[in-house]
Structure formats: C-alpha cells, structure tokens
C-alpha cells in the first residue's frame, strides 16, 4: 500500500501523524502547565520560551501544544459524529426510498439552504457553549454534507446485482446496509473524511476566534488568536503561530486526502 506513495502524500501523512501524536501526548511534551503563568506579558522567544509568552505571560509553545490537542480532539469527534449520522441516514434513505428518503432529503436541503456558520451562531445563542455542545452542533450541521454523499453512493450500489442477491436471499436491512453497502461505499467516504476534518478544524477555530467556541482557560488555536490579537498592533506576532499550525495541518491532511482520492478513483470498483 505504501510502496507507490508519492512524496507529497508521504510528507502529508508524516506531518498529520506528528500533529496527532503531539495532541495525544500533549501533557508529556509541553514544557509547562497549560494555564501556568511563567513569565512577563508577550516576552520574545528565548531559550526558556521557544515561542515567547502570551498576553498574560503563559508559555506560548505550551499553549499551542495544548491548543492543538483541544482543536484536534473537537474536530475529530465532530467528524466522527458527522460521518456516523450522515452515512447511516444516507444509506437508510437510499435503501428505504419512498417517503423516508423524501423527508430526509428535504430536511437536509433545508439545513443546507442556510450557511452553517449562521446556523451554528443561531443555535449557540440559546445553548450553553460547552465542548459537548460544540461537537454536537458542528457534527450534526456537517452531517448534511456526508448524508448527500453517502446517499448518492448508496443509491448506485443499491441496484447492484450482489445487493439484489442479498435481498432475494432474505437478508434484513441491517445486513444490506452494513455488509453490502458500507464496504463498497467506504472509499469515497474515506476520501471525504479528510476534507470534512479540515473543515471542522477551520470551523472550530473560527467559532473560538469569535468567542463562541472553546472557553478560556482551555487553550485552542482559534482562542490563541483571540487572546493575542491585540498584540498585533504593537508588532507582536503571537497571534500568527496558530495560522502556521492550522495551515500546515490542513495542507497535510489535504495532501493525504488527494492521494486517497486518486487511489480510489484509479481502482474504481475495487476495494481500495
């Protein structure tokens, strides 16, 4: 599988892996405590503080590592939620057809008629802003896109001979969905996974930047920008580090997703 991997995908996979490892082992590699004040306000980078300190004197490298942990955790959970709900409902709509399909599809049309950021803001105006709410809101809003893809793929698979055969031997809907459709729909879904994950990272960073995402003192990349944005006017670039982190993560995931997509399209019909 990895033998014919292009260099770009290799770089992407390595960087993505590093980010995830840093997220998992954040408490071990971070030089200081997450909310520990260790120096003066906006100290320049030095040997003790590689990236300097933030707006209240916390070590910025530590904040960035913990921030990555929060951002990646929320984005991952929301992506999983959106894929599980989106694909199960999409497959169901394709298999059931008729009015169930109509109801689900029209509801998704309606949800997608409004930009997700606006819808998320409306919901967050009444709900308490916690990590769980954020994951649920982001995951469900994004499930609409997964639903469309999963339904489109499943509608095609549903008329294949092997699905016909399974229906004729009297398999239940659960079998059809999980044993016949899911394995064959996996490749396009996996390729989409990367793009949705990046979208989630951008989404949660945007919400946190607006002050409606992760709440302090918990660190996350969007929040670090919000906390340090006032420094920019004095020429302090602390708020720009998350830009580098988000951009490199997004580009590496994109490179991996491109590779998966190319592989699956060249192996059309295969197991990928």
């Amino acid at each position: 599988m990895f033998r014919y991997m292009p260099v770009s995908a290799m770089i992407g996979l390595t960087l993505t892996g590093l980010y995830f490892l840093a997220a998992i082992f954040a408490p071990l590699i971070a030089p200081y405590g997450m909310a520990q004040v260790v120096g003066d306000v906006w100290e320049p980078s030095s040997r003790e503080h590689l990236l300097g300190t933030d707006n209240i004197g916390r070590d910025l490298l530590t904040r960035m590592i913990y921030g990555g942990r929060t951002t990646i955790f929320i984005a991952t959970m929301a992506t999983i939620l959106s894929f599980v709900t989106g694909s199960i409902l999409g497959f169901l709509a394709a298999v059931l057809g008729g009015w169930a399909d109509q109801v689900l599809s029209r509801m998704v049309d309606l949800l997608m008629a409004i930009p997700s950021l606006i819808l998320a803001l409306v919901v967050l105006a009444v709900l308490p802003v916690t990590v769980t709410t954020l994951i649920v809101v982001m995951g469900l809003l994004d499930a609409t896109r997964v639903f469309r893809l999963a339904r489109a793929v499943a509608v095609d698979i549903n008329v294949m001979d092997y699905v016909e055969a399974a229906k004729l031997r009297g398999e239940g809907r659960g079998w059809i969905i999980f044993r016949e459709i899911l394995p064959n729909a996996l490749s396009p879904l996996v390729a989409e996974l990367g793009l949705r994950f990046i979208f989630m990272v951008l989404f949660i960073s945007t919400l946190s930047f607006l002050g409606l995402g992760v709440q302090p003192p918990l660190a996350d990349w969007g929040g670090i920008v919000k906390e340090n944005k006032d420094g920019i006017i004095y020429g302090i670039g602390a708020a720009l580090y998350p830009a580098i982190a988000i951009a490199t993560l997004a580009i590496s995931v994109n490179l991996v997703a491109d590779w998966v997509l190319n592989r699956t399209t060249s192996l059309k019909g295969g197991r990928g």
């Binding site: 049309d109 309606l110 949800l111 008629a113 409004i114 930009p115 950021l117 606006i118 819808l119 803001l121 409306v122 919901v123 967050l124 105006a125 009444v126 709900l127 308490p128 990046i198 951008l202 960073s205 945007t206 930047f209 607006l210 002050g211 409606l212 969007g222 920008v225 944005k229 920019i232 006017i233 004095y234 020429g235 670039g237 708020a239 720009l240 998350p242 830009a243 988000i246 951009a247 997004a250 580009i251 994109n254």
Partner: protein, 318 residues
Amino acid sequence: MHPILKLVSQRIALGLLLLVSSSAMIFGLTEALPGDAAQAVLGQSATPEALENLRREMGLDRPALVRYVEWLGGIVQGDLGTSITNRLDIATSIGSRLSNTLFLAFWAAVVSVPLAIFLGLLAVRYQNRWPDKAISGVTLATISIPEFLIGYVLVYFLAVQMGWFSPLALINDTMTLGEKLHSIALPVAVLTMVVLAHMMRMTRAAILNVMQSAYIETAELKGLSSFDVIRKHAFPNAIAPIVTVVMLNLAYLVVGVVVVEVVFVYPGMGQFLVDAVVKRDVPVVLACGVIFAAIYISLNLAADVVSILANPRLRHPK
C-alpha cells in the same frame, strides 16, 4: 405561458418556499432548544417566578406558532422587533450596518470576480505548466487558512510593519468614497483571497470540461490560436457554470464577512450578529440570521435562474 417563464417562476416560488421554511427552522431551533430569551436575560440562577414574570412580559408564554406568525408578519412589514439588551428597535440598528456590509461585499466582488475568471483562463491556457501549478498551489494555501488568520497576517505585514493601511476598518458617512475604499482595502483583500481560490478552480474546471468537446478540437484543427479557441468557443459555453460559481461565491462572501468584520472591527451586520450571540440577544440573532439566510438563498436562486437562461439544455426537465 412561455416555457422559460414558467420554469423560472416555478424556481422563484420554490425559493420563496425555502425562504419561509428556513425562517421557520431558525425560529424553531431557538424555540426547541432548552433555554429561551428570558433565561438568557436572567441567567441560569434565576428563580422560576422571575422567569415566569419576564416570559409573560415578553409575550413568551403564548404558543410558539402564534409568535412565529406574528414575527414573520412583522419581518414582511419591516418590523424586526426590539433588542432585549438595549430595548432599541432592531430594524433601525440594522439599516446602516446592512448597507456597510453590502458595501464591503460589493467591492470584494468587484475585485475578485474578474480576477478569478482571468486567473482561471490563465490556468487553462498554461495547463500543467508552471503558471497553472503556481496558481493551484496558492489556492490550496488560501483554502487551508481560516479567513480571520489571513486577515491578521495581512494586518501584521501591511498595516503594522509597512504602515500602508489602518489595522481597523472604521467607516462613517462623512468620509469620501476614496477614504472609505482605502479603509476597507484590507478586508476586501481578505475576502477576495477567500473566494478567489474556489471561484478560480471552478472556472478552470468548467473551461477544461468544455475543452474536451469535439467542437473545440475542430476549432484547434482549423488553426485558431489557443487564446482564440478559449475566447470564441470555450468561454461562451462555459459561461453558465462560471456564473453559477460566481453566484455561489457571492453567497459565500456574505458569510465570510461575518468573520472578517470582527477582525477589522467593521461596523456591519456580521459584527452585530456575533455581539448579539455573545450577549444572547435572541431577537437580534433571529433578525440577523433571517437576513443572512435570505441573502444567501436569493443569490443561490439567482444562480439557478441564470444557469437556466444561459443553458438551453436545462430548460427541458428529463
């Protein structure tokens, strides 16, 4: 009735239906979720009696359907209700902000649309050579960074380091058009970068799609230069998908302004909406949400109608 007219009016009716149902959904979401405006005003620790009184005073004790119909009726007549935090009429507070937001989005569109189409044509002309690769590399980078970070990067280098622009985009009515344009230059640049990538990629894809047709091959074989092939044969056929992409991106622009306005402290709708969400001012959030949704839906509808008019193949439903 003329078949095109019939089709277009059907689309418009469908769009209106979508508009009404999305307003119902926005209203319904704030109703169905736990917590309401009264709770938001008094906070989590309010006593049930105080909540009850405030609900009665705000009219929240009546059935949701009645309030929805009243609210929708008000919006149609231009009455958006009153804010619960400062008791001001929402329509008057939104008026000037909406025009500021449209001003920003308009100039972003004026810059980004011609640029995107030109770069898209360039990418097709030099397909798989360095201009194409450079353009797709830059676009990959811009879609990977959230718009607020592009904003701060520009502020850091262009406003703070070089001092060419002001880091804040404050505008008021006493400024001349030139002064206004100078002060919104950075936000316009950010918005342009945000939509440019997508618009350019789609333009490139639309033209490349057309370029594979037989008539293009004929045009090439009869000896036309490649720019003439694109200008005379490919572009007119690619216009419908390009117009659709442009419209969709203008719709996206309307959402992009929310974040960009916060970055540049620009007195527009986006800033207003975010402030209202932070203060949990539900009537203001509802009003802003419906306006944003309406602009978004109408631009999508316009994209639909334009593509029907431009592409005769879409006029005949299968």
